[in-house]
Amino acid sequence: MAPKLRILIVDANQVRAAIIEEGLREAGYEQLIRISATTGLVAAIEAHDPDVVVIDLEDPSRDALADMFLVSQHVRRPITMFVDQSDSASIEAAIEAGVSAYIVDGLKKERMQAILQTCISRFNAFRKLREELDEARSQLEERKTIDQAKRIVMRLKGLSEDEAYALMRRTAMNEKRKLVDIARSLITAAEMLK
């Protein structure tokens, strides 16, 4: 094993950066540096002298990185984006996951592929986590909205909880709308008629 590589992780999102770091550590890489600076990336590279740079696509300093190889004498080693032209699926997977990797001074493709795969899966895992959290949050919000609308129907129509719910469901099915939309309209209407 040769994981003596120094990997620089550039990500303003602390949580995601930690997840990536953990993933790479599990894969046997020990020399990991995390920075969140969107400015001064060039200086950071000069200071840390990494072999590999992994960067979040939302970081604007990505363009600075992409062009460091053109800078003649001020950067010690050339740096290029890692792209395996023979593997278009992995190019797509990286861009869709939102991560990009750069190699400093010609690293072996096979070793790089493993690092990139780890980062892609960690980026995706992080996104899934966030989506699940968002979904849980919005489900909770929807339930609150429906409950609130149900109470309005109960009060105005003198119905029981089950009856009020059944009426809202029937209306939603009838109008081919989502239950939560019906609930929102009810709440808006009730606000207006207050």
């Binding site: 969107t38 400015t39 001064g40 060039v42 696509l57 939302e58 970081d59 604007p60 300093s61 990505r62 363009d63 600075a64 992409a66 062009d67 460091m68 190889f69 053109l70 800078v71 003649s72 004498q73 001020h74 290029t80 984006m81 890692f82 792209v83 032209q85 190019i91 797509e92 861009i95 869709e96 990009s100």
Partner: protein, 357 residues
């Protein structure tokens, strides 16, 4: 007519105007397009997302389209440009302190690029003699008209970018901050970022790109090269919308509205008056100087939108000068092939036949 959904990415610059107008003034819709615009944070992202088809088309630096097509800079992503989005519109700005130095060392009228470049050479020599760190200049991308323009200006003073002065890439929206923090001493970028640096009180404009070169190649509407073949209807419709936007954008009475569209939070997110002045060709200069009127500072007219293979020759010369490649005849052919004047003529002739209503 069925609606075609297209997604296009852009960077926050005045030269993304025709895409913004195609959407905001309804020209795309009139062509049966549902145009979705996505602001990006880097040119690399635009290139890569176009390549994996997260975008159908992109606001792109012509030289970046050539570099991606040739596969230099690590990524091979063949692109083609059936229409350009502007010509000209860039400028070079220095930090206030460096501008003061420049003014002190200038022998002659600073408005002359030769005079300012020689003054810069004198500054570089003095700094070297007194052991000060080299100056750092920024351009918006490694493959851009801006880096080649910067190179042309420096050459007038006998200086070479990357040797006599350090070079860094700073994306347009970060230029003002980079100048303010002292990370860079100067930059070359498209509008409105020079004006933004002057307005922020951190920079002084030295010259406009038109002082070095008129009708300078800049941004194009890039598609994946294979999509130009496979999706002619989409290419033609978006091209026609851009042409209508161009006619609209050339009328001074529309400048206020145009500036308002561009100033929106999901576009440039800058004050509309700052942008409107630029459209009128009135450039604020800073360092106590009055605004400078520049005729045809940025071009959006129909003639400016014709993609010209000869521009590829200028780009490759710039790339060679910057040490980015050594161009072979085969590379020249491929680079020229990125710009599609015939496709433009096709779009333009259809557009002329369309009754204006």
């Amino acid at each position: 007519m069925t609606t075609l959904h297209l997604r296009a990415g852009f960077m926050p610059l005045v030269d993304c105007a025709l895409l913004v107008l195609a959407k905001d003034e309804g020209f795309a819709e009139a062509e049966g397009l549902h145009l979705e615009l996505v602001r990006e944070v880097s040119w690399s992202n635009l290139r890569d997302k176009l390549n994996v088809r997260l975008f159908d088309a992109a606001h792109m630096l012509g030289p970046a389209a050539i570099a991606a097509t040739l596969g230099i800079g690590g990524v091979k992503a063949p692109m083609a440009a059936p229409i350009a989005l502007n010509r000209d519109g860039a400028a070079i700005t220095l930090s206030l302190r460096r501008f003061e130095d420049l003014a002190r060392l200038a022998e002659g009228d600073l408005a002359d690029p030769g005079v300012s470049a020689r003054a810069l050479a004198a500054m570089v020599a003095r700094r070297k003699a007194s052991g000060l760190p080299p100056l750092t200049f920024a351009a918006v991308f490694g493959f851009s008209a801006h880096i080649y323009l910067l190179g042309e200006w420096l050459a007038k003073g006998g200086l070479k970018l990357g040797e006599d002065v350090r070079f860094e890439v700073v994306p347009p929206p970060q230029t003002v901050e980079a100048l303010a923090s002292g990370r860079v001493d100067g930059f070359c970028a498209g509008a409105p970022w020079n004006s933004a640096a002057v307005a922020a009180g951190v920079g002084a404009m030295v010259l406009a790109s038109v002082d070095l070169r008129r009708n300078c190649h800049d941004k194009v509407l890039a598609w994946r090269a294979d999509d130009v073949q496979r999706r002619p209807a989409a290419v033609a419709k978006l091209g026609a919308a851009i042409l209508k936007a161009s006619a609209w954008a050339c009328k001074p009475e529309n400048f206020t509205r145009m500036a308002e569209h561009l100033s929106a939070p999901d576009r440039l997110a800058l004050p509309a008056p700052l942008i409107e002045r630029i459209l009128h060709g009135e450039l604020i200069q800073g360092a106590g100087r009055p605004p400078r009127p520049v005729e045809r500072f940025i071009r959006f007219d129909r003639e400016a939108l014709r993609p010209d293979p000869d521009d590829a020759d200028w780009v490759l010369a710039g790339m060679e000068q910057a040490g980015q490649l050594f161009a072979t005849p085969q590379m020249r052919e491929i680079a020229r092939g990125v710009f599609l004047p015939d496709a433009f003529e096709g779009i333009a002739s259809t557009d002329l036949r369309t009754p204006k209503n």
